[in-house]
Amino acid sequence: MAAVAYRPPRVRVALVLCLITLAFAGIASRLFALQIRDHRVIQAQARRQYQRRIPVAAKRGTIFDRQGRALALSLETASVFVHPGLVENPSAVAGRLGAVLRVPPTQILQRISVDKPFVWIERKIEPDQVEAIARLNLPGVGLVPESKRYYPKKELAAHLLGFVGVDDKGLEGVELRNNRLLGGGTRWVISEVDALGRIVFRKAGDPDPAADLYLTIDEVIQHVAERELAQAVHRSKARAGSVIVMDPRTGALLALANLPTYNPNRSGEFPAFARRNRAVTDTYEPGSAFKLVLAAGALEDRVIRPKDLIYGEGGAIELAGIRIRDHEEHGWMTFRDVLAYSSNVGAIKVSMKLGKERFYGYITDFGFGLRTGIDLPGEVPGLIRRPMEWSRLSIGSLAIGQEIAVTSLQLLTAVAAVANGGTLMRPYVLQATQRSGSREMRETAPVPLRRVVSSETAQVLTAMMVETVERGTGREARIPGYRVAGKTGTAQKLDPETGRYSHSKLIASFVGFVPAESPRLAILVLIDEPRKFRWGGTVAAPAFREIAREALTYFHIPAARSIRAMPVAWGSRESVARVD
């Protein structure tokens, strides 16, 4: 049987083909319109539907002490905001928010009833309040994740750590200085969400992790310094005070304490007077403690030797018509005695021998009149006039620590240079940084600024400072078994009303280091306006002793090495010179 060829109905096929072609042409043109012509508009509309900018609390880095003990850390929390235009029933919303936040509803209602697109209701609320508000699911009410800073040790190292503002930005201290490194604040992350607003994908990752900071401060030494400072200020009924403890070999600060102090968790409740880091921002006339700079210069330039004799003029000397007195009468005395008994007459005579240009050179070499460069905000350079601006009285005034304004940190840095053999070190508080999630530590290297005196001069001056403590004005700083080097200072403050030095307002200080032959701790104690025990030797030296004693024990520095005699060449008896 022959096969019959199949003939399709051509007209119908053509018709169907035409219809299909038309349909496809329609689809193609629509696709062209959607995909090419209106592509940008439609894509933007789609993005608005499925993409959201989600706020993320960026974690601010933790601040640790040198042993890794946390001093400041952050906790994720949230802040409540309202879009007033989206709130349907303001009084009901205010009532429900008020119940959770424990805030009077009228106060919240007042904030909602403003003609603004956005208002904050409460910043950085507690975690349980965050969950409660999220559960309420009120229209127009939202939560922004934020980070809240906690200082678990409260007042400890408050002036050094500083604090952050409501936007998690550092406002003082280490927090301010290292704000960028520590990170924090709120970052926005683009995410894809579903129809219910739930996040499906995050387009961008979490914010870059911030860095943790390790300070040179030791919590134990800091605590001891604060405790002893508080006792000294309380005992002397003083107005304020400061203590700085430094490792003289590196310039690393082990403690920095000020009184009055504040709690950085509630920094807004304290006056600026209490929040000021007076150890680096306040200047004062150092008084007799400044004789160390004079002695260093005079010894370095061989102007005088420790055993040379100086006539004490019976306890008073006249300079440019002004009579300057010692607090006790002296006849002939050695230069060692000048320092040990803090003779103003002797110091003035030595300064005359040194000369104003050379004296000024040593003052600036030791870093006075310049910022030390410490990594803390607010440091001031102090004040020292150039020799051409000095009066006839100036050289004598400077010899006894007047006509110069220094910070406590400057004075301690200068004394630390004597302690370490003559090199001025840049003081610092940031020991290392570590990126979160990284094991790599970036250590801060000590920075020697310059050599200010020879090691021989430093050694001789150290021995003179030891004598000051063992038999001079600094006897209260003696520590059994250890050799302490130090110098007292008692300076009159300028009375702004009279423009003269006040007899009642003093600054008492003690600066020194221990063990004298191999110094590990340089300490300065400053008491501002003590009303009892007003001398540096009676109010500041005991505080120095207690801080040093506990620190020596803490660092396991044995006394046995310390009591060995120091090899100091005083010069032979025959070579003694006399200064009339």
């Binding site: 994720e76 499906v200 994908f201």
Partner: protein
């Protein structure tokens, strides 16, 4: 279905069923197979997309859990730091436990380097 309808039309024309069936099978089978492969591919794509979305939700859930746990850890760290505050420890030691600081002379620190030299018979 189209092929069956066509068969009905050509049934009386002498073309054998077997011949017809073989022809249809030869022509249709590759297309069916291609269709199946495409279908499986589409199904796999859809399944993959569903899995990606499901995993997206899962990641977000775990991320939220991680944030909550991390917050808990940090809360505990704050509590530990607060409790270890030396001011508080000293207050507890002195007032509650009646402890006091060692007096000078009660604590003798030993130079370890000298002890080591002594033990080694050098000093």
């Amino acid at each position: 279905m189209l092929r069956e309808a066509e068969w009905r039309r050509v049934r009386g024309t002498g073309v054998a069923w077997g011949q017809w069936h073989t022809r249809v099978r030869r022509e249709l089978l590759p297309k069916v197979l291609v269709g199946l492969v495409v279908l499986v591919g589409v199904l796999f794509y859809v399944w993959q997309q569903v899995q990606v979305v499901r995993l997206g939700y899962e990641i977000e859930r775990l991320r939220a859990e991680q944030v909550t746990l991390a917050r808990g850890v940090r809360e505990l760290k704050i509590a530990i730091a607060r409790l270890r505050s030396l001011k508080r420890v000293e207050e507890v030691a002195r007032k509650r436990l009646g402890m006091s600081s060692g007096l000078p002379g009660q604590l003798i620190l030993i130079d370890r380097s000298q002890t080591a030299r002594f033990n080694a018979g050098e000093g």
